[in-house]
């Protein structure tokens, strides 16, 4: 199972990659495997604000549907149009091309509440 060291994780299987005062958010390889084929992704409008832990979108897979929880509070700067046009990239490349949104981080201190790669590995091993 691929769990990159350079990302932070939530127990709800999202990841965030911090770049300066912004972060890219997506779902983990484990999450895409559990969901199965993703058929579409509903993402918020640019400029919308979310609290840490708030639902910012949904993923519909063939068999099930899942909410997306923001790992951090902030404002949506960008949404990944590619995952809306070709949702299968979420399955194929969850940490790369399959990212969901870019968010402007309100409070970097919140990052400390997130899981490291090791911490996340323990969660999915349970």
């Amino acid at each position: 199972m691929n769990i990159p060291e350079n990302l932070k994780y939530t127990k709800d299987h999202e990841w965030i990659r911090v770049e300066g005062n912004a972060g890219y958010i997506g779902i983990t390889e484990y999450a895409q495997g559990e969901l199965g084929d993703v058929i579409f992704v509903e993402l918020p409008a640019i400029g919308k604000k979310f609290q840490h832990g708030e639902i910012f979108g949904t993923i519909e897979a063939v068999k099930t549907v899942s909410d997306l929880y923001s790992p951090i509070g902030g404002e949506i700067m960008e949404v990944n149009k590619a995952v809306q046009e070709t949702p299968e990239i979420v399955n194929k490349d969850p940490y790369g091309k399959g990212w969901m949104v870019k968010i402007k981080i309100d409070n970097p201190k919140e990052l400390e509440t997130l899981l490291s790669a090791d911490g996340y590995k323990k969660i999915i091993a349970q």
């Binding site: 199965g36 519909e60 063939v62 068999k63």
Partner: protein, 359 residues
């Protein structure tokens, strides 16, 4: 949790395993979409050994089945199978099933995995003199080989002439040197066969099919694709679309409900339903926006709640959300627009004649 005789083969094929009907079964091996497409375009193999097989023999076997099922068993001849159901006295459905006529006074009844105990008890309770009823579910393996190439793959392993077996007919013959029932039936809407055989030969038969199927890119198919394939055809799934709160007339199973055949359990209740007309109907719904209806979602006509989705999915072939659900008869004619509440959003859906996938 029970396992079918193919469990270790599923693990070998890296199946994702889920509980279903008291069994641990493969939901998918690679991906539901891939497996769905495989069955629509080539050929796939489903382990459906979790299903139950009862054998009914004896002088009164036919009268017994005529009494406990709603279709007309006297229409069967050896080599023919029939889709049917058992109903309660109140006309609601205990289970949907297949009746195979093996020979004079000898039948096989195939039931849903989750209903094996319930059905067997019900049948025992209503057993007639001179009928023997045996549950061989654990000793019987069942593989469904489905898809346009299924006949070409299977023909290599048997002398029985598969192309001359009409739909809902079967032969008893040798396949890969094993005596079995080769039935031209399935739950996918594709050309396909179901093979019933003694569980001790499970691995041998599986391997023989996969070896001969290699040239056709044969693959194992999980329950996930089984569900999307059957839903595209509008086939009912017991526990979702039909159960002990629904009767066959409202579930579009009037074609197997032979009220005039003579006495059977549920007859008088169903006669009344038929005379009064059904209050609600199981309909097909096609979503008008990119959205996925799922089991339990509410159906509306404007502000008024009129029903619930019993089965729903994204149709891989049509690339649309499709669903079945019961709604009042007044809204049930094809072309009527209703709404499905998808997580708080009301999405338009058009009542559509099933099968959704027209071939």
């Amino acid at each position: 949790m029970k396992h079918t005789p193919f469990f270790s083969l599923h693990q070998k094929h890296k199946a994702k395993i889920v509980p279903f009907g008291g069994f641990e079964m493969p939901i998918h091996y690679t991906s539901i979409l891939e497996e769905h497409k495989k069955v629509r375009t080539n050929v796939g193999v489903f382990d459906v050994s979790h299903m139950g097989e009862f054998f009914v023999t004896g002088k009164n076997a036919q009268s017994f089945l005529q009494k406990i099922t709603i279709n007309d068993v006297t229409k069967l001849v050896p080599g023919k199978a029939q889709y049917s159901a058992m109903c309660l006295e109140n006309g609601n459905i205990i289970d949907d099933l297949l009746v195979y006529m093996l020979a004079e006074n000898s039948y096989m009844v195939v039931v849903n995995a989750s209903n094996i105990e319930k059905d067997f008890q019900w049948m025992q309770k209503h057993l007639l003199e001179q009928v023997e009823l045996i549950n061989k579910s654990d000793e019987t393996s069942l593989l469904a080989v489905q898809g346009p190439d299924s006949e070409k793959v299977l023909q290599q392993l048997t002398k029985s002439d598969l192309k001359n077996i009409p739909y809902y007919n079967f032969v008893q013959g040798k396949f890969a040197d094993v005596e079995m029932i080769i039935s031209r039936t399935g739950y996918t809407g594709e050309l396909g066969f179901e093979l019933y055989f003694d569980a001790q030969h499970s691995e041998k038969i599986w391997n023989a099919i996969f070896e001969k199927g290699k040239a056709y890119n044969i693959a194992p198919i999980g329950l996930g694709a089984r569900d999307t394939l059957r839903l595209e055809m509008g086939y009912c799934l017991y526990g979702n679309d039909i159960d002990e709160t629904s009767n066959p007339l409202e579930a579009n199973l009037g074609w197997i409900t032979k009220i005039s055949k003579g006495d059977f359990i549920g007859k008088s209740a169903l006669e009344k339903v038929k005379a009064n007309g059904v209050q609600r109907k199981l309909v097909g719904l096609v979503l008008q926006e990119k959205s996925v209806p799922r089991h339990g979602y509410e159906i509306f006509k404007g502000e008024k709640s009129i029903g619930t989705v019993t089965s729903g999915t994204f149709s891989p072939s049509l690339e649309q959300g499709i669903a079945m659900g019961y709604i009042p008869t007044e809204y049930s004619s094809a072309g009527t627009t209703v709404q499905v509440d998808i997580r708080g959003k009301k999405i338009n859906a058009v009542v559509t004649q099933v099968p959704f996938l027209k071939k």
